[in-house]
Amino acid sequence: MSGPSKFTPKSPFARWLERRLPILGFMYDSFVAYPTPKNLNYMWTFGAILSFMLVAQIVTGVVLAMHYTPETTLAFASIEHIMRDVNWGMFLRYAHANGASMFFLAVYLHILRGMYYGSYKEPREVLWIVGIAIFLLMMASGFLGYVLPWGQMSFWAATVITNLFTAIPVVGQSITDWLLGGYSVDNATLNRFFALHYLLPFILVAVVAIHVWALHVTGQNNPTGVEVKEVEKETVPFTPFATMKDAFGIGAFLVLYAWMMFFVPNYLGHPDNYIEANPMVTPAHIVPEWYFLPFYAVLRAIPNKLLGVIALFSAVLIPAALPWLDTSKVKSGRYRPWFRKAFWVFVAVSLGLGYLGAQPAEGVYLWAARILSAYYFFHFLLLLPWLGKHEKTRPEPESISSSIAAANAVTEDASHV
C-alpha cells in the first residue's frame, strides 16, 4: 500500500511533471493500482456514493447561492424566486434539498456497515474517528442550510438548536447571544449561517481527504474482518474493479435520488417551511429534519434541560468510542452470533427513536422514547463491552482466500444437486 510508486509515466510531459510534482503517480497509486480486497460487497460502495453526494451538494449549492439572498426580508422571497423564475431553479433546489437527505441516508448506511463488520477496530480507530468528525460537520452543514429558506421550520429549528447552548451553566446565554449575533434569531444570524453553510462543505472536502488518507494507510476492512494476508491473491486493483462497482452503486443510488427529487420532492420536507418565518408565533408542532429525529427523541425524553442536552450530545458522540467499547477480538459480525442480534436490535431501536422524534412528546410516546433512549446507551456502554468478553464466537476463516474457497465449494455443491 505504501512504498515507492509503481507508476511509470509514459508521455514526456508526464515524466517532466512527475519529477517536479508526483501528482500523477499519487493518483495512480491511490485510485488505479490501489489493492482492494476481492470479497467486498455492495455495502462498500457507500464511500464512493458519499463522495459523489458531497460534490453534488457543492455544485448545486454554489449555483443556488447565485440566486439566493441571505437577508431576513428577502430570503424567503428569493427561494420562491428560485422555484418559479430562475431557469431550472426548481430542479436545482429540489436536487439540493433532497440531496441532503440522500447524503444522510448514505452516511447512516456507511456507518452501520462499519458497525456490523467491526471496521472501527484496530488498526482503523483514527479512520473511524475522522469519519465521526465528517458526520458532525455534515450535521452542522445540514442544519445551517435548513435555516436559509427562512420558513417557519427554519426559524424555529435555528431557535431551538442555538438555545441548546443556554443549558451550559453560567456562560450558556452569552454563547447563544454570540452564536446568534443578537438576542433572538434575526438577520445577523441568517447572514452568518449562510457564510458558514458555504464554508463547511469545503472543510468537509479536506476532512474527507484525511479520511481517505487514513484508509489508504490501513487498507480496507472486508466482510470477513480478517486482514489481507497475500496482496497478490486476495486483492484486485481499484481500477477497473472497484471503480466499476462503485459506478454501478452510484447509478443505483441515483435512481432513488432522481425518483425522490422528481416525483416526491417535498415528501421529506415540512409544509410549515413554506410559511415565511414569524418570530412571534411558534408552530404547534415543530420537528427537525428526519435525519436528526433519533437524537431529537433522546433530547426530549429527558425532563431536565441540562441533562437532556448532555444526553443529546452523548448520543451523537458515543459511536466515536466504539473502538474501545467493543472489546471483542473478532471484527466481523458474521462470526459473532449474539453481536449480530444486538446489532439488529440497535438498528430497530434507532429507527424507533426516529419515529418517536416526530411524535408529540407526551404520554406513551414519551415513555417509549425514554425506554429506547436508555437502550441506546445500554447498547454502547454495557452490552458491547460485555458481549466482547463473554460471547462464544464462531471460528473466523484462515484468510480471505480460504473464505472465498469455502463459499465456492458451497455453491458448487449446490449446483450438483
Partner: protein
C-alpha cells in the same frame, strides 16, 4: 536538555519563554476581534426600550409586544388568576418565587414570552395551570409565568419595566 541546563537556566531560556509568551498574547489579541465580531452589534444593542399602552387590554387578555426582537407578554389578569398565582404554595414550585416579586401591580403580569427551555413561544391560556403551554416540548407555566411542569428549568423572565403612567409601561 541535560540536568545541568535545568538546574542553571541560561539567559537564552528566559528569552525563549518571554518571546513565546509575547507571541501567544499577540495571537490571542489578533483572534479576539475575529470572535467578538459575532457578538450583538451596536444597532442591536441600541434597540433598548418599547412603550405599551395598556388601555385597550381587557381583563383576561394577553397581548404580545416586540422588545429587542423578542416577544413580551402583557397579561391583564382576572381576580381568579391573581388569586391562583398568589395562593400557590412556594414549595410546590420547581423555581420558587412569590407572585408579588414578579409583578408591580397584581392585575398586570409582564414577562418575556420565551420558553426557558429552548426558546419557543408558549401559547397563552393553555396547559394545566391556566398560564401558558409550550408546544415544543410541553412545558407548562402558571398565571404568574412560573414553570410548573416539563423540561424548562426556570420561570418566564420578567423584563425591566416601569409604569410611566397608570395606563402606560416602558419595557427596557
Amino acid at each position: 536538555m541535560s540536568d545541568d541546563t535545568i538546574a542553571q537556566p541560561h539567559r537564552r531560556d528566559i528569552l525563549y519563554i518571554a518571546t513565546g509568551a509575547m507571541a501567544t498574547v499577540a495571537a490571542a489579541g489578533a483572534v479576539w476581534p475575529l470572535l467578538d465580531q459575532m457578538n450583538p452589534d451596536a444597532t442591536t444593542l441600541a434597540l433598548s426600550s418599547t412603550e405599551v399602552d395598556l388601555t385597550g387590554i381587557v381583563p383576561g387578555q394577553i397581548v404580545t409586544v416586540k422588545w429587542r426582537g423578542k416577544p413580551v407578554f402583557v397579561r391583564h389578569r382576572t381576580p381568579t388568576e391573581i388569586a391562583e398565582a398568589e395562593n400557590t404554595p412556594l414549595a410546590s414550585l420547581p423555581d420558587p418565587e412569590a407572585d408579588s416579586k414578579r409583578v408591580k401591580k397584581p392585575e398586570w403580569l409582564i414577562v418575556v414570552g420565551i420558553c426557558t427551555h429552548l426558546g419557543c413561544i408558549p401559547i397563552g391560556h393553555e396547559g394545566e395551570f391556566d398560564g401558558w403551554f409550550c408546544p415544543c416540548h410541553g412545558s407548562t407555566y402558571d398565571t404568574s409565568g412560573r414553570i410548573r411542569s416539563g423540561p424548562a428549568p426556570s420561570n418566564l423572565e420578567v423584563p425591566n419595566y416601569v409604569f410611566v403612567s397608570d395606563t402606560k409601561i416602558k419595557i427596557g
